[in-house]
């Protein structure tokens, strides 16, 4: 299968799944007990006129599918409807809050990749006591939810030592970096553990390859062997965790943002869930799912480029 056909096929698959996801996100509102109008009013009593207005605004008198496709059409044009709590367009709310989240997630991603790869590589190459230390540390990291890391880091470095601000986003880029350093670290901790483990086992597997023995016996310096024949070979496997890493970051940012009171989309999702601001919840859920699937698509497309040994074909079939 040529690369283009492979890419087209994956793109179509993603579109289909995204379509299904949008249906779930939209349909969830209709699982609620009671009529959608009373749900949208979330228990607040309303005059018949207000009820009428709600019915009209959300076209609640139309059949379900008509409403779904109208909503989908608007979403595709970037219109997520109006927030019930904030009484502004959801898209405006998101535009305000997305930068903080993206910066936070981006910083965490850099930390994860740099430290995770380094630790995994160190463990695989050194072995012995270094490896055991890394194994124990990553086991603990894999058991630490991000909100626990957030609260502990905040307590130690912001409250006790005062090195970092306790919360908020800050103004200006430099200040933002300082404000987001601890949250990014809290967000990264669990994934550092995961990536280090993946890298380590992928490298150990590559180390057993015959090509490594050949390279060594031909006198290739050990550093070169590790870099070009072991680390490089393990990158394909490491890359496949990319989608998982990004989706985990996007979900855990909800917890970390609320622990550090960072006004990003994670905190917005938490607030709109408690206030039952459903249009906002829909929009953010859909964005998270879409971002996750986009990253998965990119990973799938990059995989054959990073590791030419993988055959292009239907998605690693779910046997």
């Amino acid at each position: 299968m040529s690369f283009l056909r492979f890419a087209a096929r994956r793109l179509v698959e993603m579109a289909v799944t995204l379509f299904g996801a949008s249906f779930v996100v939209f349909g969830a509102m209709y699982l609620a007990p009671g009529s959608p109008a009373s749900f949208l009013l979330s228990g607040r009593s309303a005059s018949p006129a207000a009820l009428q207005a709600i019915n009209e605004q959300y076209h609640l008198d139309d059949p379900f599918l008509v409403r779904y496709f109208r909503w989908l059409g608007q979403v595709l044009q970037g219109d997520f409807g109006r927030s019930i709590t904030y009484r502004t367009d959801v898209s405006e709310l998101l535009a305000d809050r997305l930068p903080a989240t993206l910066l936070l997630v981006g910083m965490a991603l850099v930390i994860v990749v740099v430290i995770g790869l380094a630790l995994g590589r160190l463990g695989a190459v050194r072995g012995g006591a270094t490896d055991s230390t890394i194994l124990v540390t990553t086991t603990i990291a894999l058991g630490t939810p991000s909100f626990v890391a957030a609260v502990l880091l905040q307590g130690l470095f912001a409250v006790e030592l005062g090195w970092f601000p306790v919360g908020g986003v800050g103004d200006g880029f430099g200040d933002m970096l300082r404000h987001l350093a601890l949250p990014a670290l809290a967000l990264a901790l669990y994934l550092i553990g995961m990536l280090a483990r993946v890298t380590r086992s992928a490298m150990l597997e590559a180390l057993e390859g015959e090509h490594v023995t050949v390279a060594r016996s031909r006198g290739v310096p050990e550093r070169e062997v590790i870099r070009r024949h072991v680390f490089r070979n393990s990158l394909g496997t490491v890359l496949t965790t990319g989608g998982l890493i990004v989706s985990t970051l996007l979900v855990c940012t909800i917890l970390v943002e609320s622990a550090f009171s960072i006004g990003g989309i994670g905190q917005l999702l938490e607030l709109s869930t408690t206030t039952k601001d459903f249009p906002t919840v829909q929009a953010i859920s859909l964005i998270i799912v879409a971002l996750f699937m986009t990253v998965n698509l990119i990973v799938d497309l990059l995989h054959p480029l990073v590791d030419p040994r993988v055959a292009l074909g239907p998605r690693r079939s779910d046997a």
Binding site: A21, V24, P145, F147, V151, E270, T273, D318
Partner: protein, 290 residues
């Protein structure tokens, strides 16, 4: 966090954790011991806890350890030890619910898809793909936003999110099992399909599927604790570790970290303990069936 499982056939595991070797047996025993201890504490909590977990004593807020309150009290003057003990119940019961729901439903779906094949299989596999697109916690938040807080909604949502991991594994195992001679032998003898499935195929694949569920327990615990931390999990007054971390955040900011550090430590230790035990079990099962 959510579901840190890689997509590949067979047992979906925490990548690399499988390499904890036999030389680390003491670690495994310590973890097993700790897990048993936590479960016992949860079972016996009402008899063990020295104080009423919800007795508020504002005059005594944030006091340190004393003979009355062995581990101190929180911002509302509630006894930390009692809350930790009773919190163990909700904190373990939730993940247990997730694991039981997702295992039972996942086995049913996987058996149906693997045994019947055809259109049913492709429909079920498509739905699986769809559920994979939602991280567990996001699905839970979506459901909570509709149904409101409480323990049931998040547990059901997470069970749905974890179901595909069980059903996909079951399906692939059933596909392999179907081709084995004993199945044809029973078919020739006129046993019905449900009978063969339940009495002969299921017991054969059960250890692997249950190992997968054991691996899922730690994830579910972390997700549910996170939801409680956000105030979307258990009801406000029920003691719960995740909720205690949230309450403890205020205490930390006042310079009294104890009531936050203890639930944090318990969450981490419990998850690590269950992870290590679950992974080891999965390891043994994998080695036996390999």
């Amino acid at each position: 966090m959510s579901t840190g499982l890689t997509r590949r056939p067979g047992l979906t595991r925490r990548p690399g954790l499988g390499r904890l070797k036999a030389a680390r047996a003491p670690l495994h025993l310590i973890c097993l011991g700790f897990a048993v201890l936590v479960v016992l504490a949860a079972l016996l909590a009402p008899w063990l806890s020295p104080n009423d977990p919800n007795a508020v004593d504002l005059g005594n807020a944030l006091a340190g350890p004393s003979p009355d309150h062995l581990l101190g009290v929180d911002t509302a003057g509630r006894d930390t030890l009692s809350r930790l003990l009773l919190g163990a119940r909700t904190s373990l019961l939730g993940p247990l619910g997730v694991v039981v729901f997702s295992t039972v439903a996942g086995i049913a779906v996987g058996l149906a898809a693997g045994w019947r094949g055809g259109r049913l299989d492709s429909v079920l596999s498509r739905s699986t793909e769809l559920v994979f697109a939602f991280p567990g916690m996001l699905l839970a938040i979506l459901i909570v936003s509709v149904y409101g807080e409480g323990l049931l909604a998040p547990v059901v949502a997470l069970a749905i999110a974890y179901l595909p991991y069980v059903s996909r594994l079951t399906r692939s195992l059933v596909l392999a099992e179907r081709t084995r001679p004993y199945v044809s032998a029973y078919q020739v003898q006129g046993h019905s399909a449900p009978q063969i499935c339940l009495r002969h195929v299921l017991p054969n694949i059960a250890p692997i599927v249950l190992a997968q569920s054991a691996v899922n327990f730690g994830y579910a615990l972390m997700d549910l604790a996170g939801l409680s931390f956000l105030g979307l999990g258990v009801p406000a007054l029920t003691p719960d570790w995740g909720r205690m971390v949230f309450d403890g955040q205020t205490a930390i900011q006042h310079g009294y970290p104890l009531s936050a550090i203890l639930p944090c430590a318990l969450i981490v230790l419990t998850v690590v303990a269950f992870n290590v035990v679950g992974e080891r079990w999965a390891d043994q099962v994998a080695r036996r069936s390999a």
